[in-house]
Amino acid sequence: MSTDYEALMHRSEVAVSVELQTQDMTLNIGPQHPSTHGVLRLVANVDGERITGVEPAIGYMHRGYEKLAEVRTYAQMTALVNRIDWVSGFASEVPFIVGVEKLTGIEPPPRAQWIRLILTELFRISSHIVFTSSYPLELGGVTPLFHALRERERVLEIIEAMTGGRFHPNFNRVGGIKPAAGGGKTQKQVSMDIPEGWLEDVKAAMERVLQATDDSDTLVTGNELIKQRTVGVGCIPADKAIEYGLSGPNLRASGVAYDLRKHEFHLPYDQVEFDVISGQDGDCYDRYWVRLQEIRESVKIVLQAIDKIPAGPLRAKAPRVLKVPKGQVYVRGENPKGEFGYYIISEGGQKPYRLKIRSTSFSNLSILPWVLKGALVPDLVAIMGSLDFVLGDVDR
């Protein structure tokens, strides 16, 4: 009798599941949505709460920088390239200008290189603070944002004191850096160097930054709610991360200790000591944790750099009308978000023949369809936010 009963049960179960055979629903997210960091549109197929496939639709912010580069001189391009990833503008200027310097053979003086290093790290701190504070916001925690942005403001202030801009410094020149903030006709006699007392201000700001990371530690890192939303969510194994070209903290969270600051020395990173932070599981929590620890490493680098910065000129002699000889060069640097590179093809003349911009977020985002497949809809924002992308960097 029992077999009849089982057969009956089986039939009824089949009947129910056939009856409940539901169609996948298409869910459109964005392009205007607070969690998409700009204008990203996701077309998701969902089966109940389960995502069966995602197609990101990008390009809403495509500004055609690679085409614009072909009609602009090298000097004019620095104003554009720091707008690619606006959270870390200075860091994306440096590889471009180093590429031009390699092509022309102009060597920037050591003091300029150290200032570039300090500013790059300050932008890294700023970018990581934006992430570590806005990521809890995406998970539903509002407080960390206000705590952290207050300290980030200190960082932006010292950046502004140096470069005159908070987000778009446009501070690099071929052969060094711009003399100083507002170094125009009237000020050039008094401000041919970095502002007086700036290095002390940086030190003070670093104290505040360390405090902010400690705050984040107590507010966020050990928080049970944050952990439940992020631990084990959106795991990216190391081999997938490498295959998709993920770089920066996203790659290191997967346990690959790969940091271009340890390999590319166009900035004097070989003369400072710091650790490459890497995670283990490659989940959302690791990606958060790696960035938070990297703030501390960046503070370490900045403090060492302040002690090591040599005196000297800020700029090597460079011709006013810059004719760049024929050649091809690829320069990459460790942007806060990962590998940021420029492939410059010069055919002689004042403009590049072709400029290929290797923007970080474009590659970082390309893993989204893979990592979201099979995830739950409530985890979508948690996973997407943990990749820390900027749409300007995706679309260029």
Binding site: G59, K67, Y244, L246
Partner: protein, 187 residues
């Protein structure tokens, strides 16, 4: 070491060695290794670079338009010698050390087709779609070669040298008349 300046750097050695092992022609300049390979070897060479040379990190892929018909920007220096062609360039790096190289294949203008490397690197899909958008290069085997940046129904390939920059046609670039002196060049 002798007193004579030695022009051969470690990178030159690495570049030529890489080209010899993988089959290709190496050009090393400005700390950048370029390996020119045949388009029929494209996938196989990149697979061997990944598996045998440790260049496992897919960095980027892009196209280049070498053209005599230049609507925008400067032309190349020796226009007469220019061979009209596309180039497809793929950057692979090591994740252990600073090694890395640009792999370049040339495509004729009338047949811009190359095999897709999405079977090797999942991340290449988007980059190939971008090159398809911008240059019209076909990647045989890419599962989803649809526009990524361009809106539906967009006509043309914007990064072709023959594609005009409309904003520039309407109004000349004001930067062209910018003659302000650099601060240190006064007096």
């Amino acid at each position: 070491m002798n007193d004579q300046p030695d022009a051969t750097t470690a990178l030159d050695v690495y570049g030529t060695g890489l080209a010899e092992r993988l089959g290709g022609r190496a050009v090393v300049e400005h700390d950048t290794v370029r390996i020119y390979i045949d388009r029929s070897d494209w996938v196989e060479t990149l697979r061997r670079a990944r598996d045998e040379e440790g260049l496992a990190f897919f960095s980027w892929l892009a196209g280049i338009d070498w053209s005599k018909d230049v609507e925008v920007g400067d032309t190349v220096e020796d226009l007469d010698d220019l061979e009209e062609r596309f180039e497809v360039m793929c950057r692979l790096s090591s994740i252990e050390n600073a090694d890395g190289a640009q792999f370049i294949a040339e495509l004729p203008k009338d047949d811009p087709v190359i095999d897709s490397i999405t079977s090797l690197f999942g991340g290449a899909e988007w980059h190939e779609r971008e090159a398809h958008d911008m240059f019209g290069i076909e990647f045989a085997g890419n599962p989803n070669l649809t526009p990524i940046y361009l809106p539906e129904g967009f006509i043309g390939h914007p990064l072709l040298k023959s594609y005009p920059l409309l904003a520039r046609e309407v109004k000349p670039w004001p930067g062209a008349v910018d003659v302000e002196d650099m601060p240190e060049e006064e007096s």
